[in-house]
Symmetry: C2
DNA sequence: GTTATTTTGTTTGGCTGGCGAACAAATTTA
DNA sequence: TAAATTTGTTCGCCAGCCAAACAAAATAAC
């Protein structure tokens, strides 16, 4: 005969009580972010591209002649953080730092042909990834979700 | 006279084109998460409590007799990751690792009186923080947001 | 009942993704 | 011309996570 162990709650028999966490937007955003990040990383593992790196490539592609500071500001991160990101992508031959004749401090960022090729390929995979993570939402719900998130994110 | 510089896009004069990022749920979730995390950290700086640590305290409080593995599973992280989190909270005297008579491997987790006091105080601050980050959403919209996020997060 | 498997907590080493302070060079403002 | 600002950078730091390996303990198989 075996008495009911306290730790039995961990075996999926007893659901874990989440208390006030269930009501917190922050908790659910964090959880969703972890799942999406994880799926993105798995899907883009062959191309070795993280969500952050993808964002950088998209912004460089969509904005001619941006420097690192502008890019960092657009992504809401520090200049100092951007340095390693740019260096990593540059070392893989996906982007270039180009001199700006009118300002010798600045680096103009541009995709290399290799970077453009990769971005095209990854964009398609990102759309597939998005479809996967939003599979249980209708198109209207997905749009609503984005709108509501924008009200938080400015 | 000064010619229009390419880098002028960074001075807020020209909005940065975000391309396909605007359509991606992952991008907006990430952005919202960063803002919420940041605000949480600032708000809870006096108590030196991160969102992750807060979640651990809430779960310990709401579930008697949980061990570290159960807790890790409930939060979707590895046992090995949980160790340092628990150790940190224990060293601050907020939680205790208690022996379980029926299983000498396991640590039963419990709040100390100090931990309970802190959690009570922090819960109120977390609610205020939530009200702040959802300030531009109605109560109904907040509920909708949580529901939609749950459809992603399982 | 002994052996094999599984579970628990842990250490170690590594990774991603960030911040802030400080700094030199270059540019802009006063 | 002198002072202030901007750009890219390095450095040290932090949060938060994973996987591999391991000993101790408990459980399952035989």
């Amino acid at each position: 005969m075996k008495s009911e162990k306290q730790s039995s709650a961990g075996k999926g028999l007893v659901p874990v009580e989440r208390g006030m966490l269930e009501d917190l937007v922050g908790y659910h955003v964090r959880k969703a972010q972890a799942i999406i990040f994880d799926d993105f990383m798995r899907a883009m593992a062959p191309e070795r591209l993280s969500p952050g790196q993808f964002g950088v490539l998209v912004l460089i592609s969509a904005n001619q002649g941006m420097n690192q500071s502008t890019l960092a500001k657009a992504l809401g991160i520090e200049r100092s953080t951007m340095v390693a990101v740019i260096t990593g992508l540059e070392q893989r031959g996906l982007i270039k730092r180009l001199p700006l004749a009118t300002d010798r401090r600045a680096n103009i960022l541009a995709l290399t042909p290799k970077g453009e090729l990769l971005l095209d390929k990854v964009k398609a995979k990102v759309r597939a990834h998005e479809n996967k993570v939003t599979a249980r939402l209708t198109a209207a719900e997905t749009q609503t979700l984005v709108s509501l998130l924008q009200k938080i994110g400015g």
